[in-house]
Symmetry: none
Subunit: 188 residues, 4 copies
DNA sequence: CATGAATGAGTTTTCATTCAT
DNA sequence: AATGAATGAAAACTCATTCAT
């Protein structure tokens, strides 16, 4: 794996373990097994790794959705699979997603967000469009709806770690609630 | 305004301007026009201001909801008013909610989130309970639903500044999309 | 002595001992007996101390000239005293003067040079003007002549350390050569 | 142009642009369009380029003097030509002479100065000796006088860029002042 | 000879925290 | 309670130097 990749992966791990605030570049390079100076060959600062992480996360989420959604399935099944994927990846990137989001908004990289998330939104809005064409759901603006659903699912997935006696059962319940919520929101 | 208030307000501004990471206590005291040492008479650290900010925001949101919701109205009207309130306050505290969320989750203060947001969630879940009792919406877990709706509305409101050619018309459209989404999600 | 003064004095000493290149800010603060961070309260970098040193050197030179020149004396005597003062101070600031000069030209402080040296040039050009008024020397542009003489004397004083078997006798010879050179250059 | 030459030229440029202190070897190689490691095949350090630069400048100056001085001319004419050459080359190497001087004195290379400048001084002191033999000027130590004159001329030429509203007219005036100064200093 | 990515020791720089006033 | 200059530990950052290609 090339050095840049190593840095990004190490950064994800360390940010998760220690939070952004407490993370030192020396922690990242230690985990990445590279020299201190090598970091600066690829990124000018700790925060500038954020967009790269966000990209990875968005790509991972899109990939998870593509993989888990069975297009043979009926729309509600597809929707459940899609939301499941969002929950899975949000869990994988637990804490990091929030930090990345806050880290991005703190920099001049905010505008990159749109670009980073576009493929993910495209994938989901295509699914919605398809369902609509098939006459299975009510008519909406597919792109906007895609963003609402992903926002809702992410927010719901993150809430678990904040509020609840956090266990697998609770996670399933929360996910099921989102499923029901969205299915009702879209049905004809 | 007393010094504590001055600190909180200054902190909101500089967190918004620079992000959490880049904010120094010296920035906060400069904006608050107090001496460096005075900060420590009120807060032990930068991040410990976060719960105070969260409290302000949550209280403001609850108050906005209480003020704007007319209980004489039918449920869809009340819902629209409630979501409108969330949009208004998220706009007021633009970016801050994300930062607060990240700031809290970066520390031991995470557990305070539950406590801080409880009154707000109670207010909204009471509304939902009432609608359910009146048989106007389908049956759900009102508390969980309340959190989903608020999460959805906040996420949608924040997205505006991130993604879109941000203008008043766009904001109205986004808000209307959330209204429709939630109304369909809850209707019988 | 206040901290800023302490830094300037320490910097002069350390620059002389080690040269600019090898001087660390930690050397300066050690010699100044202040904390590392205190340096940055007064100067943003090592090089930014340069103009302050140049100021001290120019002021010291002007003072030395004022003190050593006896206005009762005939002009050649005054001139010898003046050149002696330049030699003395250049010796005092041995090496540093060159470094300061090179250090200044490397920064954006070059334009300050004019201002820093102005009082010194004024003092010397006043002397020259007076001699001219008394009809003791030929007519020249006093200000320009002042700069030529100081440049010549400094250059000659610095050459000693570079070229010659450097000893007191050699210094006296060199100084005497400058005296003769300038006296002949100015006589009627 | 071979690599060694490329390095020397690039070094002159970046030393002039950034000063010695701020110049990195990476700046030099970038300007020279060679690889980082290649530098070390020719020079062991940044400062070790200095003697090479000094040599170039001294050789250039000697050559300029030889070329411009017409030995058929009377001594004042020759002197004017010689000083003109010093001004021309100091202009060509603007700022560099100071930097070289500081750069050499900052290292063990100081002693090389004598050797590097010897041919230049020899040329000028030969001229002075000749004038003396012809009985055209007063008796002095020709070698010492040569160094005084060159030091004076260089200092005067450098001053132009530092102090004055720098233009061609100003340069001519300054040069003329030096001519007059030296002619008076040497005449019988 | 030439390259340039990688290194890591050495410095600079930051900034939360203290404490005498 | 309030101040803000001073501190120094800790972190960021630099850049000369190496070495496998």
């Amino acid at each position: 794996m090339d050095k840049r990749e190593r840095i990004i992966h190490a950064a994800i791990e360390v940010f998760r373990e220690n939070g952004i605030e407490k993370t030192k570049i020396s922690d990242i390079v230690k985990k990445a097994q590279i020299a201190q100076g090598t970091f600066y060959l690829y990124f000018p600062s700790k925060l500038s790794v954020m967009p790269a992480i966000a990209e990875k996360m968005a790509a991972r989420m899109e990939e998870a959705i593509r993989q888990s959604v069975n297009t043979e399935n009926i729309w509600t099944g597809q929707l459940r699979e899609m939301i499941g994927a969002v929950f899975t990846v949000t869990d994988e990137y637990r804490d990091v997603s929030t930090l990345v989001y806050a880290g991005l908004s703190a920099t001049e990289h905010v505008r990159e967000w749109e670009e980073i998330y576009r493929p993910l939104y495209m994938t989901v809005s295509s699914m919605i469009e398809e369902w609509e064409l098939q006459g299975e759901i009510r008519e909406t603006d597919p792109h906007r709806t895609a963003r609402l659903i992903i926002g809702l699912a992410e927010s719901a997935a993150e809430q678990i770690y904040l509020f609840d006696s956090f266990d697998a059962a609770e996670e399933r319940k929360q996910q099921e609630a989102v499923n029901e919520f969205v299915i009702h929101a879209l049905r004809k």
